[in-house]
Structures are given as structure tokens and as C-alpha cells.
């Protein structure tokens, strides 16, 4: 068995970034990924029945999809279902590529608002890594958003707003609220050898032309070109320790189910906010009887999702909502920072997505209000189809120790590896925050011309963002990794996925997760030099 300098576990958003950065510095990298490459010809977009696949084999829920490379998640104790994808590219295969950064205040929550904890790193530290990551992924957008410090030029112009976006922008304008065309990791012009988006719509089912920045088409070709070795269909069972107490590799099952070992001088976990604690908890030893790197007892705790509430307005005119990237139109951060008069701390963003496709219009989409059947059906459907705008309220969750990932005592994946069990309840602060967001979303939809607004107070199938379960901090008693991404208990074991997030902000996290991965990689390179 051949050892390597660095072993990366997981080939998704963060694993790809860290592998590329290390490989380009001349470091020998092996990455193990339990999924496989997604063949561009396999995407449902090439089929007439593409929309049917959203709730079957291309569902974002592993418990629905049940592909061989997936592991089950016991989420009966959670009001939000975790979503993920297991493949080269990880969940960037499925994401809508909405690409905001965390804001400077997001790293100083304790200092500013007296809740949760500050991060040991800050926005300024990550800024060059944000910029580098933007260049690697390719971001459509426009400079000048007053919700952020000045950013580097975006790689391509913003995603076109089209009729739907212009309509809701009018609502924000009438209320005098902040709005801005979303930063989106989707190309509107050819860039870096990749093609521009053709506005086909269902980015959540993947992008068969590579316009959307999944890391199988951004980082990985370059990482492999720089010498990184990617082994697919490799399911890691546990991280192993040497006699010195340092991580010395992993045991995994290959594509044929054979047990294999891979030795390494350092190990990087990039398996997402559920997969990473699962693997640590599965890596028990006499030295770490409660799970690897878990002397703090915090591995798996402080799970944060972004709780989503959805408000949907019905308009009188067609909006063309089937055209363009499904998740990307407009962001508003009018209610992002803490205002004590609102009755909650922290805040939220609005994300305005595209309209509903034909099946989603019938079954209610993210609001879940199915069109009635029977003689009322046609009128009700026709009033809705192509005449709706959905405003998502994406709230900042605060870390709570009881929201957690554990090992399920009975459930296991197809290799017999214990599966995760997720416990998550919505906090009172989050409930108030979402209620405030729903009321404001209703206002902006009416201001834009909606004649009717309905809402879903909490989107169950909304666990896109998995964070906080191996948090970063300076104190080994209250955190799992240090400010460099190293486990306090095992200093050659690094974590770079959403697990390390101390707080989760009120925006999608992938841009920040990848910036952290690049930052951690640069630290590893610097320590080697």
C-alpha cells in the first residue's frame, strides 16, 4: 500500500478546492470519493420527462434517491431533512449555485450581538480566498452591492432577471428595500473553457453543459492536471491512528466492496456537515473511545441548517419563470443585521428564485399547496402556472448543542457502516425570524403586484446546508478544530467542510466553505515550507 502526503475524504465543494490547492503546490494528494463521476449524458435534461426525476433518482434527498453510493440518514427527529449528493462534485451537482459570501459581521456574532461565538478567523482573512475561489468557479454578478465590502470584478455579467426578476425588483424598489442581482456560480458567457448557460432551468438536477460550477467541471480537471489522484467509489469506514496518536490514513471499501487501506501523512475531511461527524464518530479507538478528535464532546453537536420559509405570490400576468437558472435571480439583505426591535437576534436574506415548472405548479412546489383536483382544477392551475414568484426566507440558525448528528444504533449503509441520526428542532429565535421574514416577503410580493400570497412556514425538504458539527475555535474545550482547520486532538487531521462553521450567517454557505478550504490548504502549504 502506497502512502501519500495528504489524503482528502470527499470530492465535493471543499474537497475539490483543497485538493487542487495542495496539488498545485507540489503536494502529493489522494482523494477518496464514495460516489462516481456523473456522466454528462446521464442528466435528465436530455429526456422529455426530465421533471419527473426531481422526486426520484435525481432527488436531493438521499433517503428518496437511494442510489448505491448514498447512505441513509435517520431524520425522524428533525424538522428539516438533510439534502446532499454523493459524486465527484458532491452537492455542487445539485445546488442552485446561489453564491453569496458571508459578511464581515457574520464572523463576530458574539462580539456584536452577544450570542453564539466569534470565529477565530475573519472576513479580511478569507477575502483573498473568496476572490481566488470566485475565479476558479466563475461567478456571474455585478459589482457595487452595498450589502458587502467592495468585491473583485465578477467573471461574467449577472444572470438575466427576465420578466420575473424585473417584476419582483419593482416591489423592492417601491418599498425602498435593498435588492441586488444574485452572485451566481453560473456562467453567462463562455469562461475558462466552459460554456455559457442556455437558461434551460433545472440547475437542481445538475448541469449537463458545465455552465454551472459543480466542482467536477471546475476544480477537479485542474487538480488532476496538477497531479492529484482521485479514487471514486471508495467508501471510507474509518480514519486510523498511528502509535504517535496522529492520523495515518483510512480504511475504505472499494467499488467491488473489498476492504482497502490508504496511508497518508495528513488527512483532510471534506465529507459535509453530516458525513464528517459520522466518520469521526465511526473512528473510535482506545485513545478516542467517543470518536476521533472528540475530547470536547462537540463532534456532531451544534448542527445548523438554514431554516427556510417560503412565500409565494400569484400574479395576473405571465412571468416566464421557467426560463433561466432555477435558484438565481435576486437577493435582498434588507433584514440581515440584528435589529432588537424585531424580537430576534441576527437576520435573514431573501432569495428570489425562478417560477414553478409544470409538475411543481400542480403539486405546490416548495409551498406545498397542491392545486385542487376535480372541476376546480383547471381554473386553479391556470391561475398559478407561470404566474408565481417565490421568495425564500433564508434565516441564520444559531448553534445549539442539542441539535446534533449521532450514529444510529440500527441503521447502516450498504457496506454495513453505521449511518447518521439527526436531531434538530427549530429554535424560538429562528421561528420569530422566519415569521418576520414571511410578513416582509408578503409585503414585497404585494408591492410587486401579487394579488394573493401563500406561504410555507418551514420548508422540510430544505436541508441543503449542513454546518457546525465540528466547529472551529481557539479553545479545545469548546471547539473541534483550531483557526487553521486542524483538529485540536489530532493535529495532522484537518476539516474543511461546513462542519467547521461556528455560526452559519443568513446566506448560502458554499462560497465561504470553499474559501475556508483554500485558506486551510494555504496554511498546510505554509507549514510544510
Amino acid at each position: 500500500m502506497q502512502g501519500t502526503d495528504v489524503l482528502v475524504i470527499g470530492a465535493g465543494a471543499s474537497g475539490a478546492a483543497v485538493a487542487w490547492r495542495l496539488a498545485t503546490a507540489g503536494i502529493e494528494v489522494v482523494c477518496l470519493e464514495q460516489g462516481d463521476w456523473v456522466d454528462a449524458r446521464a442528466y435528465p435534461h436530455w429526456r422529455a420527462d426530465w421533471e419527473l426525476h426531481r422526486h426520484t433518482d435525481w432527488s436531493a434527498e438521499p433517503n428518496v434517491r437511494r442510489l448505491p453510493q448514498d447512505y441513509p440518514v435517520n431524520d425522524r427527529g428533525s424538522v428539516i431533512s438533510p439534502l446532499m449528493y454523493n459524486a465527484v462534485g458532491g452537492s455542487t451537482i445539485h445546488w442552485s449555485a446561489h453564491f453569496p459570501r458571508f459578511r464581515p459581521s457574520d464572523f463576530r456574532v458574539r462580539t456584536l450581538d452577544g450570542v453564539a461565538d466569534d470565529w477565530p478567523i475573519d472576513y479580511a482573512t478569507l477575502e483573498p480566498h473568496f476572490d481566488l475561489n470566485d475565479r476558479m468557479m466563475g461567478v456571474a454578478g455585478i459589482a457595487g452591492d452595498p450589502a458587502y465590502p467592495p468585491k473583485s470584478p465578477r467573471q461574467t455579467p449577472p444572470i438575466p432577471l427576465d420578466t420575473l426578476g424585473v417584476t419582483i425588483a419593482g416591489g423592492f424598489e417601491r418599498l425602498g428595500w435593498h435588492w441586488w442581482p444574485s452572485d451566481s456560480a453560473i456562467l453567462t458567457r463562455d469562461y475558462d473553457g466552459r460554456r455559457a448557460c442556455v437558461n434551460c432551468g433545472p440547475c437542481d438536477l445538475g448541469c449537463p453543459i458545465g455552465a454551472k460550477a459543480s466542482t467536477d467541471v471546475t476544480y477537479w480537471p485542474k487538480a488532476i492536471g496538477a497531479g492529484a489522484r482521485l479514487i471514486t467509489r471508495a467508501r471510507v469506514r474509518e480514519i486510523t491512528l498511528g502509535a504517535d496518536g496522529l492520523a495515518d490514513g483510512v480504511v475504505y471499501y472499494d467499488g467491488e466492496g473489498r476492504e482497502q487501506a490508504q496511508k497518508a501523512r495528513a488527512v483532510v475531511l471534506a465529507a459535509n456537515g453530516i458525513g464528517t461527524p459520522r466518520l469521526l464518530l465511526n473512528s473510535r479507538s482506545p485513545r478516542f473511545p467517543d470518536g476521533l478528535a472528540n475530547r470536547s464532546g462537540l463532534v456532531g453537536r451544534n448542527l445548523m441548517f438554514h431554516p427556510y420559509a417560503m412565500a409565494r405570490g400569484v400574479f395576473d400576468q405571465p412571468l416566464g419563470g421557467h426560463r433561466g437558472p432555477i435558484g438565481c435571480s435576486i437577493i435582498s439583505q434588507e433584514f440581515y443585521e440584528t435589529d432588537p426591535s424585531r424580537g430576534f437576534v441576527r437576520g435573514y436574506s431573501f432569495q428570489v428564485a425562478r417560477g414553478l415548472s409544470p409538475i411543481a405548479s400542480a403539486n405546490g412546489g416548495s409551498v406545498g399547496d397542491r392545486v385542487p383536483w376535480g372541476r376546480e382544477h383547471r381554473r386553479a392551475y391556470d391561475e398559478r402556472f407561470d404566474r408565481t414568484i417565490t421568495v425564500a426566507v433564508i434565516g441564520e440558525d444559531l448553534p445549539e448543542a442539542d441539535n446534533r448528528v449521532e450514529l444510529d444504533p440500527e441503521l447502516a449503509d450498504s457496506s454495513g457502516i453505521p449511518a447518521p441520526r439527526v436531531t434538530y428542532r427549530l429554535s424560538e429565535n429562528s421561528r420569530r425570524l422566519l415569521d418576520h421574514g414571511i410578513a416582509r416577503a408578503r409585503e414585497v410580493l404585494h408591492a410587486a403586484g401579487a394579488r394573493e400570497v401563500t406561504f410555507n412556514p418551514l420548508l422540510r425538504a430544505g436541508g441543503w446546508h449542513l454546518m457546525g458539527t465540528a466547529r472551529m475555535g481557539s479553545d479545545p474545550a469548546t471547539s473541534v478544530v483550531d483557526g487553521a482547520g486542524r483538529c485540536h486532538d489530532v493535529p495532522n487531521l484537518y476539516i474543511v467542510d461546513g462542519s467547521v462553521m461556528v455560526t452559519c450567517a443568513g446566506v448560502n454557505p458554499t462560497s465561504t466553505i470553499q474559501a475556508i478550504a483554500l485558506y486551510v490548504a494555504d496554511g498546510m502549504i505554509g507549514r510544510r515550507a
Binding site: E51, F107, L112, G144, V198, Q333, V371, W373, G374
Partner: protein, 149 residues
């Protein structure tokens, strides 16, 4: 097996689907467009097939003799019967409605009637006439809204 249970009641199933999604002026397509999809779902998944078969069996049980001549009933009577089943067997009826909508609204004839082009969304994509942005001047001029730390 479940497909066989459903297929044996194909005529009843088609009439039920037409009641769930009736034809109307300007939109003559009706729920039976979803028939093959519903049968395919029953074929592909034991769990889904069992739910669908139970829905049809519940309709039969609720309708008694009427179920055999369901298609001949008036629209009011057919809806009344299905409303009773919706209350008595909500889980299986919900599955029936969902799969009916899935099949109906993915059918090329329906897509065409909705004014869209049926078929794969790639490679054709969609044309967006203008990528012009509304004026961002007011927002940009409002100044920073992030907290400096």
C-alpha cells in the same frame, strides 16, 4: 403484482384520473393522459404500487355497485365519491393525486397546451429576450448596509 392489480381495473382508473383532472373548454386533455405513468409507477415501486392499488380498492369499496359504472356517473357524483375516499384513505389517495399530476403535467400534449415546447430542455434551453437590468442606482446610492467590524 401491484401493476396487475391496477391494470385489471384500467377502465376504472382512467375514469378516476379524468375526474381528478377533467377536460375543459380550451384544454381538452384530461387526466387519463397520466394512465401509463401511473401504471409505470406501480410497476417500478412496490411501495408506490401498493398505495395506488389501495386507492383504487378504496374507491371500489366506497362506491359499491357505483364503482363498476363510475364513468357513467355524473361529475357531481364522481367527485362526491372521491371526496369520501380522500377522507377515508388520505395517504393512498394523496399518492394517486400526486402521481396523476406528475404523469399529466409531464405529458407532451399537456406541455404543448401550456404553451411550452415539449421534450428535453437540453440542448435547446430557453431564449431570454433581454438581459438588461433595472436601474440599480437607488440601491447603490444607499451606501453600505453591512456592519463594519
Amino acid at each position: 403484482m401491484t401493476r396487475a392489480r391496477l391494470a385489471a381495473k384500467r377502465d376504472l382508473l382512467a375514469a378516476v384520473l379524468d375526474t381528478l383532472v377533467p377536460p375543459s373548454a380550451g384544454f381538452p386533455e384530461s387526466g387519463r393522459l397520466a394512465l401509463e405513468h401511473v401504471l409505470a409507477v406501480a410497476d417500478a415501486s412496490v411501495e408506490a404500487g401498493d398505495l395506488l392499488a389501495r386507492a383504487i380498492e378504496a374507491i371500489e369499496a366506497a362506491g359499491g355497485r357505483d364503482a363498476r359504472r363510475f364513468a357513467e356517473l355524473g361529475a357531481d357524483q364522481r367527485e362526491d365519491l372521491l371526496r369520501r375516499v380522500e377522507r377515508s384513505a388520505p395517504g393512498s389517495f394523496d399518492a394517486l393525486v400526486r402521481h396523476t399530476y406528475d404523469g399529466f403535467y409531464s405529458h407532451p400534449a399537456t406541455i404543448t397546451r401550456l404553451g411550452l415546447e415539449p421534450g428535453p430542455v437540453q440542448p435547446r434551453g430557453h431564449r431570454i429576450e433581454s438581459d438588461a437590468l433595472p436601474d440599480l442606482g437607488r440601491v447603490a446610492a444607499s451606501g453600505p448596509i453591512f456592519r463594519r467590524v
